[in-house]
Symmetry: C2
Subunit: 158 residues, 2 copies
């Protein structure tokens, strides 16, 4: 499974770590998303949007971009699909007419209320292959990784 790349040990470690990270998330997604799709007909991104709206109230599309870490153009598509399914509605902000505020509809509210608990249960069940301490440590490492920045090219020259 690990890379066959012949590099120095630090490079091999970094590559293999990234591969494991990527594969673990793929594996989790394969376990968690089909039930959402089959039982409620929604995707991961749609769940993210619905959950944010339920817990935080109506949000602008820009705010939703922040929440689900996707591009603006992607968010337009996801909200389009949710709107077509009658789960959310857009409302133009009267103060700033560039802004679209996204609201949960009663149907969307009902769906997320029905879908989220069992999703949480599945997540908890799947993550339970790690002890609670391991989950904390994994979270810490991921959080630290998330702070990585692309260094300026000049630093390549050292």
């Amino acid at each position: 499974m690990p890379t066959r790349f012949k590099g120095n040990p630090t490079e091999v470690l970094a590559l293999n770590t990234l591969i494991k990270l990527s594969r673990s998330l793929s594996a989790l997604s394969a376990l968690l998303l089909p039930p959402l799709q089959k039982a409620h007909g929604i995707t991961e991104s749609q769940l993210g949007v619905l959950e944010a709206l339920q817990h935080l109230g109506p949000l602008t599309q820009g705010q939703l971009c922040q929440k689900i870490l996707r591009s603006g153009s992607n968010l337009t598509t996801v909200v389009d699909n949710l709107e077509r399914g009658g789960l959310v509605r857009r409302e133009r902000d009267t103060a700033d007419r560039r802004v679209q505020v996204v609201h949960l509809t009663p149907k969307g509210e009902a769906l997320i209320t029905a879908a989220f608990p069992s999703h949480v249960e599945r997540v908890t069940r799947v993550l339970s292959v790690l002890t609670l301490e391991e989950q904390v440590e994994l979270g810490r490492l991921c959080r630290k990784l998330g702070t990585a920045r692309a260094l300026p090219v000049s630093t390549l020259a050292h």
Copy 2:
């Protein structure tokens, strides 16, 4: 950033751990993929296929599916795009005519040879926000997570 979900602590921990895992990978992808795209015009999946072919030699599409953990239909698309770009070619297996063997072309070989070292360097640089020990531990936790299985529904009833 963490979920607003009001559940028991175990559920909240599991959800937050998953969110951090997902966000860390998104953050890494945002750093690593644009350079690949800009400098060489290839995507992450295409890199995965080209790298596998370079290190392992010609592979069937089924074998490539195993390597990059994607569905067969997706692999068809990715190989289609690589083939259109002249980076790989398909060759029908003479012994079993159902099988397509994917080969690197000289152009593909040149591209992956040019692209991979700088990619590895970027990966190493970005992962270096973690110590080597932390990378090892992160890899171990991810590996363990990847062994998670969906439990049968009956186990929900305890």
